[in-house]
């Protein structure tokens, strides 16, 4: 018995839709089987809350008197540089930006206590941040300097725009070397003493719609505690990877670009994060409702942690050098148990993506839909799928000028 999104929305409006989370659906399927569950359940909600570095927000600050063109000038929020290469008062703050005077990794490993992710969190929390700007001045925009406090409410538009979120599956990071590694996957102890993973597993949005049948351009989602939308596939989208029988990618695959009104969002779901020795990022809460159009969709959302496998990758050698070496494949169920076995060795695991918070996202989204406050949207365009030929390729370098070292060696040879 197939359903349309229109029919599901009619039920949501009437307060009759049956909505469960991607965790709750497992018990329903166990109890009733796929066929009955598909007839009964209308929507399954997913969720994730994890660091997502390719996140950021753009702001329209409002015009000063006299006018000032920040475009081509320098702008900071709480000393963190923002990108200003736009018209007069539009700026973009990226999650990983850090103050010019942050010591970075000069004393290794750096602490990176504050950056773009924290600026976004502070603004969303309603706090005042310090805006400074310098510009070169023009006939139409004469002003050259600005130093003021500003809050989110003072801005015209404030929009979260993340070019890559919600990675469909991800690496499990280990360290085969003899020294401690400080990475975006956390602190990795030498000789594979720990393994860090980053996935919401059975609650993860794209793992519940592995072939992108319902998630596409324009899908309405939970984003940062407010309502957002899928813009398109995210950067580094890579749908052509190897998959399991269930269609689940066996490593990093699809990604989403998403956007939403920052003024609706909450600091509970947008959190600045500091990774020792690596830098600053933003943890983003994101949830997507999956319409149960038919039995096939129900089968997809019945994915459990035991079905999902991720590749174990060495972050001392293979990852930094861009080598495609995989030490083992392990399931999310194994990762969540606290211990995995790699090459016969027991390795303690730790997460970076919060499963506890992912559950909360899925629950909130379920409550919104059950209360009739959130309708599902029809995708305007599908995401490029496994057969599309869409690939994620490395950079092929073509040096534009002679490098400095070559220059030096030429000087030496003249002598």
């Amino acid at each position: 018995m197939a359903k349309t999104i229109q029919e599901i929305n009619d039920k949501i409006r009437a307060g009759r839709a049956v909505v469960v989370t991607a965790e709750e659906i497992l018990a329903v399927v166990k109890d009733k089987g796929v066929k009955k569950a598909a007839a009964q359940v209308d929507v399954v909600t997913t969720g994730t809350f994890a660091p997502m570095c390719s996140s950021g927000a753009y702001f329209n600050l409002g015009h000063t008197k006299p006018r000032m063109k920040l475009g081509g000038g320098r702008v900071t929020l709480n000393d963190v540089p923002a990108y200003a290469g736009f018209a007069a008062v539009d700026i973009f703050m990226g999650a990983t930006a850090i103050p010019d005077d942050d010591p970075r990794n000069k004393v290794f490993p750096g602490a990176f206590p504050y950056g773009g992710g924290h600026v976004i969190e502070d603004l969303v929390a309603g706090e005042e941040v310090r805006l400074t700007a310098t510009a070169y001045g023009t006939d139409c925009y004469p002003r050259k300097a600005l130093d003021t406090l500003i809050r989110l409410a003072d801005m015209n538009e404030a929009v979260l725009f993340n070019m890559r979120n919600a990675y469909q599956n991800y690496n499990v990071a280990v360290n085969l070397s003899d020294r401690v590694l400080y990475t975006y996957m956390g602190v990795l102890q030498p000789r594979m003493r720990n393994a860090n993973y980053c996935t919401a597993g059975q609650l993860s949005p794209l793992l519940n719609d592995p072939l992108y049948r319902t998630i596409g351009v324009g899908t309405r989602i939970f984003l940062g505690g407010g309502v957002g939308y899928v813009v398109s596939q995210g950067t580094q989208h890579n749908p052509g990877v190897r998959r399991t029988d269930r269609g689940l990618p066996m490593g990093g695959s699809a990604t989403l670009a998403v956007t939403g009104d920052l003024k609706q969002m909450s600091p509970r779901w947008l959190r600045g994060a500091s990774f020792t020795g690596y830098g600053v990022t933003l943890a983003v809460g994101l949830g997507i409702p999956i319409p149960i159009l038919d039995e096939e969709m129900l089968y997809y959302v019945s994915v459990s942690d035991a079905d999902i496998v991720g590749p174990v990758v060495d972050y001392s050698e293979a990852y930094p050098n861009g080598k495609a070496e995989i030490l083992a494949h392990v399931t999310v169920a194994e990762l969540k148990s606290g211990e995995i076995v790699v090459n016969g060795k027991k390795v303690a695991t730790a997460g970076l993506s919060s499963y506890a918070r992912a559950r909360e996202v899925a629950q909130i989204l379920k409550d919104w839909i059950s209360a009739g406050n959130f309708l599902l949207s029809e995708a305007l365009e599908p995401l490029p799928g496994p057969e599309s030929g869409y690939v994620f390729k490395p950079l092929a370098e073509r040096p534009a000028i002679q490098t400095l070292t070559e220059g030096y060696s030429n000087v030496a040879s003249v002598k």
Binding site: G338, G351, S354
Partner: protein, 136 residues
């Protein structure tokens, strides 16, 4: 009963064999968990003491008379609950299971102050500055 305390030594006591006296003179069972002692600075030592062994009260009086400050360790370690997002990143590095996930269904991270030895391993690991140790 085991009790974890922080002993703060003023700089002039650094060359005194205080721990030796606690064991030898007062019969305490002392387990040193961590220590930071350098010349001409306040020294700090986290120790686990067995409360029922030895002359406990006499030992505490001795420390007070000598000028060593004693503080309970638990006061020095805290998790800012509102900052913790329960990512579990700190769980495998924590050597004492003071940070642990007792329920692998909900994956909520529980912090048990009593087990903490202030080793600070979680500080570098937590991306959200949720753990704080007032040990410096």
């Amino acid at each position: 009963m085991q009790k974890k305390v922080v002993l703060n030594f003023p700089p002039h006591l650094i060359d005194q064999p205080i721990t030796y006296r606690l064991i030898k003179d007062f019969g305490l069972v002392v387990n040193i968990l961590r220590a930071r002692i350098s010349p001409r600075e306040w020294g700090r030592m986290v120790v686990e003491l067995a409360e029922d062994g030895g002359r406990w009260q006499d030992a505490m009086d001795f420390l007070a008379d000598t000028g060593v400050e004693v503080e309970p360790l638990a006061r020095e370690v805290l998790r800012h609950e509102e900052r913790c997002i329960h990512c579990t990143a700190c769980v495998s590095p924590c050597p004492t299971k003071a940070l642990d996930v007792p329920d692998r269904q909900t994956m909520t991270v529980v912090f048990d102050r009593e087990r903490c030895i202030a080793c600070e391993l979680c500080l570098k690991v937590c991306p959200y500055q949720a753990m704080e140790i007032l040990f410096e």
